[in-house]
Structure formats: structure tokens, C-alpha cells
Symmetry: C2
Subunit: 345 residues, 2 copies
């Protein structure tokens, strides 16, 4: 292009300007794609987007002030995979050899004997009382600092048996996008899990962007004291202050947050009370259940049939029916999600 006079110069300038505008519009598009890119169009994605619009548009009659925007998420089976065994239970089993090494007399005592045998079927068949013994012996007695180090070390090396990947890579990409989308719209996102609060806090910030003060879990007592150098420590006690499952979930929400959520997400009967408590509030409230119906990309169980439910969380057919009757939205992993894990993209 040759430039001859003022008119041509102006034309060039305008052309450059137009190009800049187009380019920057494109750049903006690339930086901020539409929300929830891993979700297929459909009732689940629409319900989320409509809920956020209604509660964040100042002109909406269902507008919610910033300070009241609370969203709560179950973890196992809702934010990451829970089959064949909750990550925290895998952690507890991995700690048993150390427990037995420290107290050799336990090696012939149940349930330690069965766990040490490595017989997966026998371990899975252990009654609940034995699981409680395993949990108490591997989650209490140490300082909170020591516990954090042990969990971090385990997370850095342990691998899920099916995908051969660290557990923290088995979060659901569409749920990660949902956490971001809600936070981008002023929602405070909380984990509300039956898992141990101290356990989940170790990785919640790096894995989900959820800080420790926004992790509500089953709460064990801690005793404040001092180490040999007089430095303050907390010792984890075998005393359950809150079993954060079923009715314990809204109780934990009251205790830790003190406000009713506007949105809640779960995947099993342990989330029933949290979802009904959420939906019972005034204005626009969103309650959603993740249905595991994708045998190919993850697992199929619950109402979708296939595998048996996990030991600690079930999703029977009548719970599905209740969800539909109650206006909760069921998320089909198979139909609503483009990808399940980030590594499948």
C-alpha cells in the first residue's frame, strides 16, 4: 500500500483502527469464552446460567446482595470421583502399616489384620464399626502439622487404581468451571463434605481454589497444647464434634457459615438435607444432583444402574424421584458434560 496524501493517510489510519478493534474483540473473546465451556447446552447448564442471572442482576426481583451469595458443594462424587473408594479412605488404609509398625500388637487384631492382608474384597466387606476403628487410628493422635505433612506426602505419590493418576487430577472439569463461574459472579463457594475437615483443607485451595475457612467437613476435636520447645500445637483427638453428613450437613452449614446457601450441589442421599434446606429458602434457589451415568468416561451407578453404590453414599431410585418432585436438577454426566476430567479434553 502506497500512501500519497492526507486523505490516503486518514484511510490508512481508519483501516488500522478498524483492524485493531476487530483484533482486540477477537482477543477478548479468546480470553473470556462463554461460561461453562465443558457443559453441553441443555436444562442443567440453562438452569445454572438462569439462576446466576436472576440472583446477580440488580434489576431482577430475585437479586441477592453480594454478602449473601453462598454456594455449597459436596465433594466425593460431586467435585471428584468417588469410585471405587473415597480418597480419604484410601489414605487411611495406606496409613495402617505405619500404625501397626508403631504398635506391633495390632497386627493380629481386626480390622488391622485384614487391612494388612491386602485382600481388597475382604477390606471392602469390613463392617462400619471396623472402618471407624481404622479412621480413628489413622486420623487422630498426631499433631495437625504432622497430619498435614502426611496427607501432602500421600497426595504427591498416591494414584487412583483405574486412571493411575493423582486423586487431585480426578476432579470434574465441568464442576471446576461451575465453581469459577459462581465465584466470578460474587458467590462464595464452600465445600460441605462428610470427609474430614482437616483432610480436605490440605488440598482444597490448590485443587479447587477453596480456602480452608470455606471447607466444612466432619469435625474432630483438637486439643491445644505445647511441644517440647513450648511452641503451640494442636493434637487431633478421637472425638467427633460433627458428623457432617445427612442432617449434619445443614447443621455444619449453620455452625460454619450461619447463612442458608442459595445454591447447593450433591450426588447422594447424604446431601438430601442440604439440598432441601437450600431449596426451602425464599427467592431463587438452585439444588442440583450429579448422576453418575457414564460407564465409558467415568462410572455408572445409582439410578443409572451398573456398579454398586459406594460404601458411604448411596443414590437409590426413590431419591431420584424425590429430586424430580422437589424441583432439583439432575446433572447427567453422560449428556450434560462435554468432558469429565481435564485430562480427557
Amino acid at each position: 500500500m502506497h500512501v500519497h496524501g492526507p486523505k490516503q493517510k486518514l484511510a490508512v489510519a481508519l483501516f488500522c483502527l478498524a483492524t485493531l478493534v476487530v483484533l482486540s474483540a477477537r482477543a477478548t473473546l479468546a480470553q473470556t469464552p462463554g461460561p461453562l465451556p465443558s457443559w453441553n447446552s441443555g436444562p442443567a447448564r440453562n438452569a445454572i446460567i438462569e439462576f446466576v442471572r436472576r440472583t446477580t442482576d440488580p434489576a431482577s426481583p430475585q437479586f441477592v446482595p453480594l454478602a449473601e451469595r453462598i454456594a455449597t458443594f459436596d465433594q466425593d462424587g460431586t467435585l471428584w470421583t468417588e469410585h471405587p473408594i473415597y480418597a480419604q479412605l484410601a489414605y487411611c488404609l495406606s496409613r495402617v502399616p505405619d500404625v501397626v509398625a508403631a504398635k506391633p500388637e495390632l497386627k493380629d487384631v481386626e480390622p488391622f489384620k485384614t487391612v494388612m492382608s491386602g485382600d481388597r474384597e475382604a477390606i471392602a466387606a469390613l463392617p462400619m464399626k471396623d472402618w471407624e476403628t481404622i479412621l480413628a487410628s489413622t486420623l487422630t493422635g498426631m499433631t495437625t502439622d504432622q497430619f498435614q505433612l502426611e496427607v501432602k506426602a500421600w497426595l504427591a505419590t498416591a494414584k487412583d487404581p483405574k486412571w493411575k493418576r493423582p486423586y487431585t487430577e480426578l476432579t470434574f472439569q465441568p464442576m471446576q468451571e461451575l465453581l469459577h463461574f459462581l465465584r466470578d459472579n460474587g458467590y462464595k463457594t464452600y465445600i460441605v463434605t462428610g470427609g474430614g475437615q482437616d483432610f480436605v483443607r490440605v488440598y482444597a485451595e490448590s485443587t479447587y481454589g477453596i480456602p480452608p475457612e470455606q471447607v466444612v467437613g466432619s469435625i474432630g476435636g483438637v486439643a491445644y497444647g505445647y511441644d517440647a520447645n513450648g511452641k503451640p500445637i494442636f493434637t487431633k483427638e478421637p472425638k467427633l464434634l460433627l458428623n457432617n453428613d445427612h442432617a449434619g450437613k445443614p447443621e455444619g452449614i449453620h455452625l460454619m457459615i450461619g447463612r442458608r446457601p442459595y445454591a447447593a450441589f450433591g450426588n447422594s442421599v447424604g446431601d438430601k438435607q442440604m439440598l432441601e434446606y437450600t431449596k426451602a429458602g425464599d427467592g431463587a434457589r438452585l439444588a442440583m444432583l450429579v448422576l453418575h451415568d457414564d460407564a465409558e468416561r467415568e462410572y455408572s451407578y445409582g439410578p443409572a444402574k451398573g456398579l454398586p453404590d459406594t460404601k458411604f453414599g448411596t443414590f437409590p431410585q426413590d431419591y431420584y424421584d424425590l429430586a424430580i418432585r422437589s424441583g432439583w436438577i439432575v446433572i447427567s454426566m453422560k449428556n450434560d458434560w462435554k468432558h469429565i476430567f481435564a485430562f480427557q479434553k
Copy 2:
């Protein structure tokens, strides 16, 4: 002023511009005065400002990332006046007539008989066990919604016996400014009180700008259930999950926040463990104690002598000595504060 030619016009324009600059500078000054205007210059104010500079200046070796900026405040005696009786205890006493009306057989039973007599000295002399009975009978058994309504109604009408003002007007203006100053610098401010969590949450947001999820208090159990219409309710149970005083304060901080504070503020031995836990962390940590040494504008007690300490919180001389040895800063209400209450300004 007459305008004649271009030069004069320019002069007028410059004059107007200069005036505008001066006026807007004044307006800016009026809108954003220096921090902590009700604090006198001195070691306490300096310590706060230096702490904030060190932990928020990105060039400082003691810089603290935004997410970790936690400051915790005791309430009674630290954020508002605690003499002659904690507001919550005054509330509980005010509820006794209703408790007795509902169960008339209690009127001849201690401690209800003494409370109904109105004899202030006899009430103050009741042993701790009787106070526990009063607390349990007036703080539990109802739904959390009912409890909130009762506390709100009481706060709207109850008056402090000395100042004849609502309790919520008896907050310390310099501490309100400190809460704002810390929040303006990215700190999340928490109340960490021996008082009831459900009680303090009723007014913490309107009184201190502290939302319910940032109130850590003594925690009573709640039971999730349903009202006659099937709507979810919480019933307050006579079950103490956490006595958030002394060692219970850092335990409550671990439970509710999961991070060690960078700054902590108290006024009695009940705050000792919270302050030592805070100071035991790495980097710059601030621990401060409010000393009630102003008999004229508020009260004088503890090491400052004068009135006896309150029933539930003491500040003996050896605690003062410990504070000085430990590098905690003692705030003299008399010397460090220009005003104590907003209504004294």
C-alpha cells in the same frame, strides 16, 4: 473580575483550575483522613501501622499474601464495653421471666428465684453452676429463627444501665477504626469470643461489619428438623460443642478458620492462648491487649486497679507482665484513645 482579552481569559482559566485542584484536594482529605483518627500518636498506633505496612507492602520481606491475612478480635472488653455485666448475660437475665412464665414451677427453684427477686447483688453472687443453668434455660430449646427474633427485639430496647444507650452503641470507636483499617488493607476480620456464636451473629454484621461466617464463638449444638408445615428448622440444643475461651479460642480458630491469625486482639486471660498462638507464627505478628484504665470515660479495672474484674474474664497483674515479656502491645484506653465511644466525640 472583568475579563478583557485572551491573556485574561487564560489567567481566569488557570485560577479556576487551581481553585478546583485545591478544593478537590480538600474534599479528598475530608473523605479519606489518615488511618485510626481516634488514636493518639504513640507506641500502640505506631505498632498497628508498622504491622500493616510490613505485611502488605509487596517489597517487604514480611509480606503476607491476601488470602492469609486474618485478624481475630475478642469481643467483650475488646470491641465493646463489658462492665458491669456482659451484654449476653443481661440478655439471659431478661429472658428468665418468660422461662418462669412458661414453667411456673421454676419460680421457687434456684437460681430462678434469685433472678426473679431482682436483687442485683445476689444475682451477681450466683455461683458459676447457677449461671450455667440460666444460660441453658434461656439460650436453648427454641429454634434458631425464634432465638434471632428474641435477640433482635431485646437489642432494640435494652439499655446499658450506666449510659442509658443500646449495647450496640457501646462499641469502642478506635477499635471500629482498627477493624476498618485492617479490612481496607485486605485483612479478613473475625470475632473470636467466649460469647455464644448464634447470639453475636445476630448483630455482628450491622454493628461491626463482620458477617456471620466470620463470627467464632462458643458453639452449642443444633438439631436439624422440620416444623409443622414440613419446613426445615434448627433447634438449639443444650450441648456445648466448643467453649470458645482460653485454649478453646485457638481451637475455635482452627475449627472455623483453619489458619493462624497474623493479628489478634484481646483484653483478658481468656485471650492468652489466642495471643500466644498468633505470636508463635513466622513473620510479623501483632498481639494487643486493651487495658481498661479510664475510670472517667469508661471504667478502670485489672492492672489499672479500680473496679473488680468481670465475673467471666480477669486481667491480673501477672498477665500484664506476661504480655510485656511476650512482646504483646498493651493499649491504654486513657492514653492511646482520643475517644472511647462514638457518642463521646
